[in-house]
Amino acid sequence: MSLINVTIIDREGVEHKIEAPTDINMNIMELCKANDLPVEGTCGGMAMCASCHCYVESNHDIFNRSDAEEDMLDQAFFVEANSRLGCQIKLADELEGLVLRLAPQ
């Protein structure tokens, strides 16, 4: 199994360091749910609810948002330049060291 280190900062500011698998087709929303972090993932990962809205805090250049993701962010609040939907970030080896902060609900 291939693992990378991901840090998720929750809405209380607590850092959660997680070893995340890159070989089981998992995304950030699912990673948060699997680790009991307060992410609803209401739509199941279709970029249709924004409940997994988060900010990229590390220097990873992962802002290639799809139209569907941009569209959903239009309906979300507290959107910043580094906003992403966690369900649209697929865990991959090049994301080693990724730091994300959960957006307010």
Partner: protein
Amino acid sequence: MKPIETDIIIVGAGPCGLFTVFEAGLLKLRCHLIDYLPQAGGQLTEIYPKKPIYDIPGFPEILAGDLVENLMKQIEPFKPGFTLGERCETISKTEDGKFKVVTNKGTEHIAPVVAIAGGLGCFEPRKPPIANLSDFEDKGVEYIIKDPEFYRDKKVVVAGGGDSALDWSIFLTNVASEVSLIHRRTEFRGAPDSVEKVMELASNKKINLITNSEVVGLSGNGHLKGVEIKHQTDGIISKEADHFVPLFGLSPKLGPIADWGLNINKNSIEVNTFDYSTNIEGIYAIGDINTYPGKLKLILCGFHEATLMCQSAFKRIYPDKNFVLKYTTVNGIQGF
């Protein structure tokens, strides 16, 4: 108005609630569905009607909207009743031990069994995080446009980038004295025709199109008088407004069900997997809204839960009758 009487009140007209009508119908139990959305189908019709689903047994691929259409056809012989566009508010016991469920519009429903198939809860408008927003609700802030005439000769600020924001902005130019459309980006995701029309109206000064912006403040004394708009580079713009209509789609909230005395764990209702009964005898919870060890939020699991739940509901309604499972291949469907 006389209360609606039935055998099973189903709270939520999503796929799981709809299939309950079929399984109940095989047991000669009648059902009435209540949903806050104006149409049946739950999130399948509201959120993703055009998305294919691949894990419905027997369907290698089916569009969510088509699955709902098929379910409606499947339950048609059992003549279910519908109360749509109304939210279940309260539940109480009648003198003869039945349940009375009353909606926000006062419609009363009475039945010996209640099945909560509420999915993720009621779909409510997404409200932008503006500190004093609630102070102006129904005093200049509306999340749904019910009657465009309401806006005649008024200054209206619409916010959002989707079809409803575009379509209403276009429509309101014929009614309101001034229409402003505020959007986070310069691109719009709505139907290309609507986007083109908005751009045309903006260039003709019929719509004040303010992009790269969001509404961050409201002002007024008892009724809305103005909005503060934050532009990404130009800072704060103040604008006179009689009405502010934020159109950011819908998101689900558990809603009044949370106060029904049920055991709730992380926004889900705890059930016994024997028959998906809750801690209140006669109230069941099926589909995405329930939780138990090993729970999977899948439509196919909801169908299974609905089927077992109906057997238990039958025994509750007819404690002296012994029921023998009948196969539809042998007996066909006998509707009402």
